[in-house]
Subunit: 341 residues, 2 copies
């Protein structure tokens, strides 16, 4: 993200200040979303006065906030007027179908933010300062917020994941969606295959969000709820496919292997598991987004991580799966790992 | 800092996540400084186990923290070992004479951090949520922390500023250093000219830090303390030069003009004022560091700003100064504005 100065170029302490003040960028984007600045920029003339009127805010505040967004690549400034960048038009203007601004709700949760106040202690002990297993404690309400606010980030992944799981197959099939959350991955398969039957597994308050989404997609008559912990409930089955999305990263490898064994025993012969993950390269420092995700796991769990493909492949193999393959999803930080019984 | 995707390139939401999670970078660098990771990298073999031993921390925590620093350009990773970048060797290793890590003490102060939790409200009202004038309230203890922890950042500016003020002149002269803080700017002039006499003006607890620095530099017999507010105390004089460093940005233009008038009346005929500031270009969005500084003024003051050279020039002219010139300091985000009576 921040390349160092080329060899021989004069050294400046800029990178130190940028990192120490980086927290300002988080709060600036959050404030701009709260004040609906991106909608104002998209539909108005883009001068300070009109944005301030729309946001019911001071001109001084809006001018400094919008300049700050420009500095950080989240708006453009042309002849003193603020304009969308291609990215802000697509992902931050509420009038865009791809708008992601709701994700600020999940990413700003105190449970995800406050551990950073104790990061040195977390690094010393190697695990979150949150109680027990952190965000994966039973019935943790953060997952209701996740299901509600992260759906727009996950929606673009559902099509590619569904295509990998179905491989064009139609006809009756049963799908288990573990840690269903918003439910969008299972729902997408029900949409792509009108004879697919989906079972969503998650805490009950989370599943209610998934069921709402199933209703919106018109597939609720093929959507069952299996409330509880993935480690506790009987999966039932046998299933043609099991979806394991954004889940393994919360646990240590041994726990992941145990869960994958349970998944495998719930699958039909020839059935497949589809694991959606942040998968860094083996160097663990690239690409930036999947690699940086391990910091979120350090601060919010007892033993989670962003696993490399080699590690995920080993876990699947130890659980008895074969044919483990990696499928990075274009234009996203996510990868689908596929394996068969 | 974050260029948008080139026209025609596929859009990704990466920039949205980077900004929403940017706060992690602040805390990661702070934790690495607290755990003395940069010293460990500079003097050890650079593997996870040895850094963890040095930092008395878990290997899991150190590995994830150091990878995160690599992702953000603050370390390198070569064959699984962590190495300094040129910047981290110069500015973050405590064994370097240019080490800046003490600045985390000032930049992490609750008075500077907590207003961001209320940034939408600040933008609405156009001023800090801190009481009164914010960080420039009388006797605010943040300036003792500033004087103590920001000195390494300011030290490299003292030589260039001193040279601009002295222009090679020797012989008896009197200097007033307003908002002296650490005192390094006045002390530098006393070092460059053995007949210069410096008067440091600041709150008394801050001036004690300046006097300590004057003693370390061996110029304490030519260093006087003038405790109080720049707006309240009689400056005395007449002075050959007045230093006005990192000060005007806290106030609105009218207040700045009033202060500059008072400065001018304390100067000898032909005397000069040297104003050190973050000075963005007239577009107010470049260069990144001086332009971004207006956000710090929005959140921590009632009406401060990062003023452009045109604005600073106007203030000086309105106060009766002539010959206003701009002198950006190389390899720093600061500019010295010089003017004569």
């Amino acid at each position: 993200m921040q390349p160092d100065a080329p060899t021989g170029a004069p050294l400046t302490p800029a990178i130190v200040f940028e990192n120490l003040n980086a927290f300002q960028r988080t709060f600036a984007l959050k404030a701009a979303i709260e004040l609906d600045v991106f909608r104002a920029v998209g539909q108005g003339p883009g001068d300070v006065a009109s944005i301030a009127r729309y946001a019911k805010a001071s001109e001084r505040g809006i001018r400094i906030l919008c300049d700050f967004l420009v500095i950080n690549g989240l708006l453009q400034k042309v002849d003193g007027h603020y304009r969308h960048t291609p990215s802000s038009a697509a992902f931050l203007d509420p009038n865009s179908p791809h708008c992601l601004s709701s994700i600020v709700g999940f990413l700003s949760l105190p449970e995800l933010r406050q551990p950073y106040e104790h990061l040195a202690e977390i690094v010393r002990t190697g695990k979150t300062v949150l109680p027990g297993e952190g965000t994966v404690e039973p019935e943790n309400p953060v997952w209701v917020e996740f299901a509600q606010s992260m759906a727009p980030m996950m929606a673009p992944l559902a099509g590619p994941l569904g295509a990998l799981v179905l491989e064009g197959r139609q006809g009756p099939m049963r799908i288990l969606d573990i840690a269903a959350g918003h439910g969008l991955f299972g729902i997408e398969i029900a949409k792509q295959n009108p004879q697919a039957h989906v079972t969503g597994l998650d805490w009950l308050p989370v599943l209610r969000v998934a069921l709402d989404n199933a209703k919106k997609a018109g597939v609720q008559d093929r959507y069952d709820m299996l409330p509880g912990s993935a480690f506790g409930v009987d999966f039932g089955g046998p299933y043609d496919s099991v979806l394991l999305t954004n889940f393994l990263h919360h646990f240590d490898p041994e726990t992941c292997v145990g869960l994958l064994k349970k998944v495998r025993s719930s699958l039909k012969t020839g059935g497949c598991v589809a694991t959606l993950e942040f998968v860094p390269n083996e160097d663990r420092v690239s690409p930036p987004m999947p690699a940086a995700f391990s910091m979120t796991m350090l601060t919010s769990t007892a033993s989670g991580d962003a696993y490399t493909f080699r590690e995920l492949s080993d876990m699947h193999t130890q659980a008895g799966f074969i044919g483990v393959t990696s499928h990075p999803i274009p234009m996203s930080p996510h990868t689908v790992v596929m394996a068969r019984t």
